[in-house]
Symmetry: C2
Subunit: 280 residues, 2 copies
DNA sequence: TATAATAATGACTAATTGGTCATTTGTCAA
DNA sequence: TTGACAAATGACCAATTAGTCATTATTATA
């Protein structure tokens, strides 16, 4: 629906300037040139807009990062691909990124907090997948490495978002981050985060895990929305695969290839890839 | 004034739960058991409370970190001292720390943002002082190292603040962070942040620099407030030193020793130390 | 005890908030 | 042209906000 998109686009600008809380529905509707009532025809509440907003961006970004990493033919490229794609994603969606990093730690909204930590755990999964393909000096530093990689990301992204430093060369940034990570992997010996404390971190996330039923619902929705015949058919076939639990990974993998480049399908492709641990 | 302290103590609890914006003056006064009018006898506005609040904690914390680093007899200890003192400070003031890290990137309040970036630049100064005493593989990675150290701090502090991971062993955390930093210093070759971009970062901070006049005003205020005779006399003498610009660093250094352990004097001691680049 | 000075109160204002709903406007087919 | 239905409006509501100020309570002084 075109009105929904308009509201999101305009809300994006206001949220970036002021954050979620400080932006009123009135401001959004004024900025859209529509009435307050019209807003509530598109979204049940301000909260629903915020959640949709975060979902929309995070699904794209995470699916992009995951697919770029999982598509690496050599495990040597993973780290570099990860840093490049991640920085690129935040650069391309810099207005959203600004909001995301601000609200991540701040918001009081319980609903939103759960969403954010859900996506955070997905990022952790991707990074841990990469770390498992690195050669570590001490296997026990694994979770410290995870934390450090996230620290690198956070702090370099801050440079562009808070200090508005112009991003000159994404390639150098990537190389610099890859080097740092590899150095830590190679020479770190003193872990701080144990497996147990890592478990505590993971337990924080409530199980919004994706069972087949939820994925099938997503697929059905997409089948209605999507025009392209190949994507449509692939989705139908994927739906069948998920319903009859006897299915070939090869077929699923092939079908995913057909849909994964369609922006609307990215997220569902990611969920299925994750469900069946499909890589490379 | 005792009422001011009461308000701060109670506000601390509410701010930690809800943040600055979401906490109303009414809530604070209810929590204090005083009337709304009484609040405005102590603080001109909610904004003034917030600024005082941040000032109060940050001055203590930064003065502590700086003095612990500058007091190191061996430059080998600096890094470890820095990480230990910093983590300890955030642990001891964990309620404040939680607020600080949340508001740092979020707040819309221009006034507050300026304060926060002022203190941020002070932390940068301390870290750069430490880095100047490290042996770097490539001198050009200096500013990247600064950024990484800040990333380490941010992300490990988050563990305790957001995920509420119990902090078991501060010594191990310190050792782990020291190792990581030393490794990066020793092996990093690819800088991303140039001297020029570092300059851009520094230029962000408006010059709230401390000239003698401001420092003297602070001293005069302290002389009135403070009881202890030695601190009082030392402050008087320091004031004279600052007024007559012909002064001996040795005398100033000695006088600072007399006052630096008094919580009320810490900040002014820090400012003087910084003004005359007094170390060790 | 009487007077002056200070401290504290809480009802009040004006503005803003998210959200509602009776009313109006626009767009069709008949 | 009419009538039916959907889309859009914005005045309105109850709640909440920061901040004020005439009034009252408390304390110190004479």
């Amino acid at each position: 629906m075109v009105k929904k998109q308009l509201i999101m686009d305009k809300a994006l600008e206001l949220f970036a300037k002021q954050g979620f809380e400080a932006t009123s529905v009135q401001q959004i509707t004024d900025h859209c040139g529509i009435s307050k009532g019209a807003f509530y025809l598109s979204y049940k509440s301000k909260d629903e807009l915020i959640i949709s907003f975060v979902d929309c961006f995070m699904k794209q970004i995470i699916a992009d990062i995951d697919s770029s990493v999982k598509d690496c033919s050599h495990s040597d490229d993973m780290l570099s691909t990860f840093f490049y794609t991640t920085n690129k994603a935040f650069q391309d969606n810099s207005t959203f990124a600004k909001i995301f990093f601000k609200e991540q730690t701040h918001t009081v909204n319980e609903n939103l907090l759960n969403r954010l930590s859900y996506y955070d755990s997905k990022v952790n999964d991707i990074i841990l997948y990469i770390i498992d393909h690195l050669v570590l000096e001490n296997e026990k530093t694994k979770f410290d490495l995870l934390i450090c990689i996230k620290g690198f990301m956070k702090v370099y992204v801050d440079l562009f978002l808070i200090y508005e430093l112009p991003l000159l060369d994404l390639d150098i940034l990537t190389k610099s981050l890859v080097e740092k990570t590899n150095i830590l992997a190679k020479y770190s010996t003193i872990p701080f985060i144990t497996k147990e404390s890592a478990q505590i971190l993971q337990d924080h996330i409530e199980g919004t895990d994706n069972n087949s039923k939820q994925i099938i619902e997503l697929i059905e929705q997409l089948i209605i929305e999507i025009e392209e015949p190949i994507e449509k058919e692939s989705l139908e076939l994927l739906k069948n695969c998920l319903q009859s639990e006897n299915n070939s990974l090869a077929i699923i993998k092939g079908l995913l290839e057909n849909i994964k480049n369609n922006p609307q399908c990215k997220w569902v492709a990611y969920l299925i890839r994750e469900k069946y641990s499909i890589q490379q």
